[in-house]
Symmetry: C2
Subunit: 160 residues, 2 copies
């Protein structure tokens, strides 16, 4: 994802994978979602989840991390070729976030995002708005999270 004119509907970003470990699940939960089934193995066994699993906000936040890492790696490639690098604008938000299955200790979630819509910004002539459909699947190829997000993408200077 670089300048608005360099991306198109249907572009797919393979963001890579993350394996959720016990310590990080408990660490995130202790700060932001201290429910027993995210904090304690024995309590989790008795819960509707049946075993320790990650906070849904943790699963979502890991997508953000992989997306930022992906963008940085992509920016490096543009920079290495001597091409201008776009500084992405803010995201106005998300919709339709679904936690489809629990993410248990040891699950490896593979994330992917796809551009599903693009339009010029009505408020800022130098930006377009891209819509992405993102999801994560576990090692059994079962989707665990999906959502639709939007991000402001700068236009190539000569195109504005």
């Amino acid at each position: 994802m670089n300048f608005f004119e360099q991306i198109k509907v249907g572009d797919v970003y393979a963001l890579g994978s993350h394996t959720f470990g016990t310590d990080e699940i408990k660490s995130f939960a202790s700060r932001f979602d201290p429910q027993a089934f995210h904090m304690d193995e024995e309590a989790a066994k008795l819960s509707h989840f049946g075993a320790l699993c990650a906070s849904g906000w943790h699963t979502a936040s890991v997508w953000m991390r992989l997306m930022v890492d992906f963008r940085k790696a992509e920016a490096e490639k543009f920079r290495a070729r001597g091409e201008p690098v776009a500084i992405l604008g803010p995201s106005p938000g998300f919709r339709d976030l679904k936690w489809l299955k629990p993410v248990y200790v040891g699950d490896t979630i593979t994330y992917q995002s796809e551009i599903t819509a693009m339009r010029l910004s009505q408020s800022r002539a130098d930006f377009g708005l891209a819509t992405l459909f993102s999801f994560g699947t576990n090692q059994h190829i079962a989707p665990v999270i999906s959502f639709v997000s939007a991000v402001f993408v700068p236009r190539l200077p000569q195109q504005q």
Copy 2:
């Protein structure tokens, strides 16, 4: 929020406030959203935000923390009165999450959730589904985040 029969559309939960400090903003960002405007004061000054601000996922995750704390305090009250305490079910997700304004260092965000819809679960006779509209406002009473979430709420045993 306790059993399905004990809550109603229009119930408002004042979840309290959180002041976002520099260290926690950088700490969250370093793990989940390592963009310069969440990590470095000087880089943030040059960004579209103009100053160091929290990751949107951080702002959202703090809502979860305050909601869990609120539920625990409520459960204590029911327990103290000798009344049964509901164990809330999982959340299937949320929709329409909007990051309306940046959350800068030192901003105090006050969160509130309101039940906007309720229905019985089609898949589980012992649960209902509550829809909540939640938002956070800063110290200038400007909304910074809002979203609609859903949560499974157990029915009173004798009502199933």
